[in-house]
Symmetry: C2
Subunit: 155 residues, 2 copies
């Protein structure tokens, strides 16, 4: 029986998949900020209205963390993922507003075999968080490691 | 009386400051992972020992979030920070282990005036999270916006 988990070979350059939605509440935004990013613009409407956010908006790191959860539920937990060495770039384009229903658009930018590990392949993604109006709230480019169905040299 | 908050002019290229320590418990690692990154390597010692982490290690996004809190307590909450447009790069170099006491090393890489906003300056930082043995667990490069003491053209 074939392994139903997603392997490196299953990610095709140019493929686009959309995950979600994920509702984000004011309570979540304030709880995350209180623990990790207690700047007034993430905690309090009145203080936030005087900032560049123009009203309460979640921490950029909250966006990243929510995106990770959507990636995990979307495909990582059903894959041979071995994690990621880091992130190439993160762009916070719009505020994370209470009540938004986020969707995640994942585009496969590139795939390549590992140069050193024959059973590992690398997949470079562009991830975009979208709001209810399809506006892009955050973009991220990062490369993840996946196990291969067929190790290099075994074909 | 001069404003005691840190302004853009107070960040000098080449300056290095170390903040912390911040103890990270197993409970925190598992709680963050359960909410945002429920991969087995972040939740369970036995599952983690079979992965590249070689034992329980926190989510990379937990490292980023903890770093944000250390930055906030270290200087951002006592500054004219206006946030950041994004992150240039994140590198996860070593696992985040339960019981580690993290320190944060902040290096000012570059400062420049905003081209469009006379009362805003940009400061580019390299941030490094260090473990108890001074090994670098994570690096990050990002640019933050700060209010200026003296707007451009006012000198």
């Amino acid at each position: 029986m074939p392994d139903s988990k997603l392997h490196w070979e299953d990610f095709i350059t140019g493929a686009v998949t959309v995950y979600g939605p994920r509702l984000v509440t004011r309570e979540e935004i304030v709880a995350f900020a209180a623990e990790f990013d207690p700047q007034p613009m993430h905690l309090d409407e009145a203080a936030a209205s005087a900032t560049l956010l123009g009203g309460l908006g979640g921490s950029g790191w909250h966006m990243c963390s929510l995106m990770m959860r959507m990636i995990a539920d979307g495909f990582v937990l059903n894959s041979t993922s071995m994690g990621a060495p880091g992130v190439d770039e993160v762009n916070w384009l719009k505020p994370l507003r209470p009540g938004v229903r986020l969707r995640l658009r994942a585009t496969v930018l590139e795939t390549r075999a590992s140069g050193s590990k024959p059973n590992v392949g690398l997949t470079k993604f562009k991830f975009e968080l979208l709001d209810d109006a399809d506006a892009v709230v955050m973009t991220q480019v990062n490369t993840m490691m996946f196990g291969r169905r067929a190790p290099a040299g075994a074909a």
